[in-house]
């Protein structure tokens, strides 16, 4: 599906401003103070709490196959994750996953 132009022109400026304010927050106006322990703990897990959940449905029910679980995409996802964990290399994991996907699709 294509991105709607109106959506784009609302989302991008708001995302840019919000992201900037997050970066500016303490450095800019909140100054030198510690975060409460509970907040600090929660913030440590923001990225890892969102990104896996964002891709999970796309891995199990890919839109490209009309929502049918697809062995090629499932295998590619597993290889990406395993190579990423084993090598800690983002690029290595992307390449391994991509090669797996196209190898199985081509077979």
């Amino acid at each position: 599906m294509m991105i709607d132009a109106a959506t784009f022109w609302i989302v991008v400026p708001a995302l840019a401003l919000g992201t900037y304010l997050i970066r500016f927050s303490f450095l800019g106006f909140l100054g030198n103070r510690a975060l409460p322990g509970a907040l600090q703990r929660a913030l440590r897990y923001t990225a890892v709490a969102i990104l896996p959940g964002l891709v999970a449905p796309a891995v199990i029910w890919p839109a490209a196959t009309g929502g049918q679980t697809d062995p090629a995409r499932l295998a590619a996802a597993c290889v990406t994750l395993l190579v990423g964990i084993a090598t800690r290399s983002v690029i290595g994991a992307i390449l391994a996953g991509g090669v797996t996907l196209y190898a199985i699709l081509w077979l």
Partner: protein, 235 residues
Amino acid sequence: MAAFKSPFVRGCLASAPFVIVVVPFALLFGVVATEAGLDLLQVMLFSLSVFAGASQFAAVQLMQDQAPVLVVLATSLAVNLRMVMYSVAMTPHLGAAPLGTRAVMAYFLVDQSFAASQMEFERHPDQPVADKVAFFFGTVAPIAPMWFAATFAGAVVGEAIPPDYALDFAVPITFLAICAPMLRSIPHVVAAAVSILAALVLSGMPYGTGLLVAAGLAMTAGALAEQALQRMRRA
């Protein structure tokens, strides 16, 4: 690296290795965003104004899924909330710089400049603020231009790629690849597992709100797991 006296040059050298990560990531963003129907100007404005790769991919994915604007924003901004920690951690070192300088540094406070600067400032906390500022801008110098140039190249390439090359799966693969090295402790693994399970179970919730609920649950699970582990170690 004592051979280089200039803190700016030391900063450049410290973040130079990150170029290998930034370039393919930006290329891929350019390609994926173009395939999603954005034109060259939109893709460049996106990368220049937001300048935070993971949240840009998340926003593109959610906008393609026709999620409501508020859900797209809440989810993508949540991805960037980790930068609150960066802002907190940089303040003791850079907080004494003039406001204008801090305003510019905030724009450039990305994963790579933070990681390289944090390491340096922990190792040498006693350098003058001006040196720390110079080091910080040094870490930005190799990263930012490459981010913009590679986004541009990706967008140009994306316009030439036919839509039926299974590129739908580039975003999931990229995200999995970013996540994998993050799974460096048990609480991180717990958070990721809860995120996946809850997102799948709640995928029927309207307007993509299931993901936001899943993210909240996963963050809480991670924080609780960390606390539980600490208690076990102390006992």
